[in-house]
């Protein structure tokens, strides 16, 4: 079973993640954990020092963490973005699209199911900043646009 799924080459951050409140009052930490009610934008002034942002999903049905992830990536965050908590295989491809590159689920994934979920979508309709070319871009290659 897969306890931790990670799509990065670098060494994981060593220190445990601190809460957003703690991070904002002792700003030397390199790892922080966002809860659904936290404002991801409060971290934007400190992105350079961050190596790990954990986004907690206390319940898989609470989708605020998807927006938090995109906001961080849109602001240029390059470090590890890890989904933790009630993370399920059927959410993996959507989470990847929102910028997550690391997954630490409460209950380990079945490796086959995880692989199938990650490889599921050959095409995507939206541009989400994950580097994938949306269908509309394939329909209208850049040199034909304007």
């Amino acid at each position: 079973m897969l306890d931790h799924l990670r799509f990065r080459e670098d060494e994981p951050a060593g220190a445990p993640a601190v809460t957003v409140d703690a991070f904002l009052t002792q700003t030397n930490a390199a790892a922080v954990r966002i809860e659904p009610g936290d404002d991801a934008r409060s971290l934007l002034p400190f992105l350079e020092q961050l190596r790990l942002v954990e986004v907690n999903f206390p319940s898989f049905g609470d989708g605020r963490g998807y927006s938090s992830a995109r906001i961080l990536r849109e602001a240029g965050y390059q470090g590890e973005l890890r989904a933790v908590g009630d993370v399920l295989v059927d959410q993996l491809s959507h989470m990847r699209r929102c910028g997550f590159d690391s997954f630490l689920p409460e209950k380990p994934f079945d490796p086959e199911d995880a692989q199938a979920a990650l490889n599921r979508w050959p095409e995507v309709y939206q541009a989400t900043g994950d580097g994938r070319q949306p269908i509309w871009a394939k329909r209208h290659p850049a040199n034909e646009r304007d």
């Binding site: 989708g63 998807y66 399920l88 959507h94 309709y125 989400t128 509309w136 394939k138 209208h140 646009r145």
Partner: protein, 544 residues
């Protein structure tokens, strides 16, 4: 109409494979029911009182005859020979087996259809004007914008676990035939002072237990920013919509609690940021989609003559047809409200017939309306009598569009696990009552809408006469509302007073119509009279 290219086809095919795999894992016990529920909901599968219900999307209510035939085949093969057309321009089947669902989705995908996001806390099927592309009063066909939004909202990874369901409607005419301001986002395509086409955004409308009319939050979004602006509206909602109470989770509550100004400010801030992110499809994509919605090859010399010597035909023409933008053509409405019938239901044979008639007489196109009827949008007047005869012979000739018999009703306690009371028998009794007393015609336009619980799927808030079924100490009880309206002058109905039994509500409706007939001024509809004279006289008569 829109046709899939290899990309669109790949998306629905992938979805079928994904759901087949998810269903297998559920049946093997690898997924709990709690984990599986949002997955099946986003494929249109609800667990109702007796079986699974499957809701199939009809994007912006438009479909062709091949698709309509498949809907009939599904009714025969997997259901009990019926389909139920819904207030969101979709179709539902009430007797589905979970094991069959992946095969049904595969049958749908073969004709460019799906059940994607027809349920669940996500962006639902985009609805639109059922007369789009045919109405004389439209600025432009709204469906290309709806299709652009359909593709953007399908599997949007950020917005699949919203606080609650999210409904978008796009119209492009002065007359609102789609209850646009009662949607989470209502978009009206408009022309600005410079003559450019853009979109006005109304956000935070809805029915349910707290009905709200959406306020205008921006009067003009340029077409090359439509997706970006929508994404900004959704992101603010996904981040800040309430998740502590499911009954306060719709965007209308967020807009109401923040205030329209503060919500708008947050959207504008997010919009300014998202404009830098390159998420908007190029205008060329909108142009590509638009090319699918050109006018059919109308006969330019078609005659406007119509032989109305047959009185039954003349009545149907007067009540069920609407002027077309093209001379020599009309928009023909097929009422799925036969007297004593189940509103919105059609048998497989009727669905097949409507498909054949669309192919023969309406350039292979049909529409589903939010009033649970079917439209043949482009019928030549010269064909109208033959068409009507064929409809009438199949029990589809009811001449009662927009009358008191043209009732919107939810499935109610006969099917739905949320309902407090039955809706269908009340609708049946009311249409029978008015067919028997012969007042349907005299009453003219009278929109009557019935919901079997406070969730308002039957749009009771927006009925000129609305009926809400409630549970009163274990007994079904019906409240009466007056004065709702879904159109341009959107208003919400008010409760008259104490509720009624099933038979009592039928009497109360009849008494309300008698007040109207006694009080009306020249040219007034029921709604106009109510607005002029107010509730009091109606109450006196109803509770006398």
């Amino acid at each position: 109409m829109y046709r899939y290219d290899q990309y669109d086809q790949a998306m629905v095919d992938t979805r079928v494979a994904e759901f087949r795999d998810q269903t297998r894992r559920r049946l093997e016990g690898k997924l709990t029911e709690d984990q599986f529920k949002p997955l099946r909901l986003q494929n249109g599968l609800y667990l109702q009182l007796h079986a699974y219900m499957l809701r199939v999307a009809v994007p912006y209510g438009t479909l062709n005859s091949a698709q309509m035939h498949v809907l009939a085949n599904i009714a025969d093969k997997y259901d009990r020979g019926y389909g139920h057309f819904t207030t969101r321009q979709n179709i539902q089947y009430n007797w589905i087996k979970l094991e069959d669902a992946p095969d049904i989705l595969a049958d749908l995908a073969a004709v460019e259809m799906h059940a994607i996001q027809t349920s669940g806390n996500c962006i639902r099927n985009i609805s639109s004007d059922q007369f789009a592309g045919a109405a004389g009063d439209e600025l432009i066909d709204p469906r290309p914008y709806a299709e652009l939004l359909r593709q953007w909202s399908s599997f949007h990874p950020e917005f699949l676990t919203l606080p609650r369901k999210f409904k978008i409607c796009v119209i492009a005419s002065e007359t609102d035939r789609a209850a646009m301001k009662l949607h989470d986002i209502g978009i009206r395509i408009v022309k600005n002072a410079a003559g450019e086409i853009g979109a006005a955004f109304y956000v935070g409308g809805g029915m349910g237990r707290t009905p709200m009319i959406a306020p205008l939050i921006r009067d003009f979004v340029p077409l090359d920013q439509l997706i970006t602006y929508s994404e900004a509206c959704l992101r603010v909602y996904n981040r800040y919509g309430r998740r502590d109470n499911k009954y306060k989770a719709r965007i209308k509550i967020l807009v109401h609690e923040l205030g329209k100004e503060e919500y708008t400010r947050q959207v504008e801030e997010e919009f300014a940021h998202l404009l830098t992110q390159g998420i908007e499809p190029p205008i060329a994509e909108l142009e590509r989609i638009k090319a699918h919605f050109t006018d059919p090859a109308f006969d330019q010399g078609a005659s406007d003559d119509l032989d109305l010597s047959d009185p039954a035909f003349a009545l149907w023409v007067a009540r069920n047809t609407v002027a077309h933008k093209q001379p020599g053509y009309v928009i023909a409405n097929i009422s799925l409200k036969p007297v004593g019938g189940i509103p919105g239901d059609a048998s497989a044979a009727q669905i097949h017939l409507m498909a054949d008639l669309a192919k023969e007489y309406s350039f292979d196109e049909l529409r589903v309306t939010h009033a649970q009827n079917i439209v043949l949008p482009h019928v030549k007047k010269a064909d109208l009598h033959t068409l009507w005869q064929k409809l009438d012979a199949a029990g589809l000739g009811a001449a009662n569009l927009d009358t008191v018999e043209d009732i919107i009703a939810c499935p109610g306690l006969d099917y739905c696990s949320l309902a407090n009371a039955r809706s269908i028998p009340v609708a049946q009794k009311i249409s029978q009552r008015f067919a028997a007393n012969g007042k349907t015609g005299e009453l003219g336009e009278l929109k009557l809408k019935i919901s079997g619980c406070i969730n308002a799927c039957g749009h009771h808030h927006a009925g000129h006469i609305g009926i809400l079924g409630v549970d009163k100490k274990g007994l079904e009880n019906y409240q009466l509302l007056l004065g709702g309206c879904e159109g341009d002058d959107t208003s919400l109905g008010k409760i008259t007073g104490p509720g009624f039994t099933e038979d009592g509500i039928v009497d109360a409706v009849e008494k309300a119509t008698e007040v109207y007939l006694a009080e009306r001024a020249e040219g007034e509809r029921f709604l106009d009279t109510y607005r002029r004279i107010g509730m009091e006289k109606f109450k006196e008569a109803i509770y006398a």
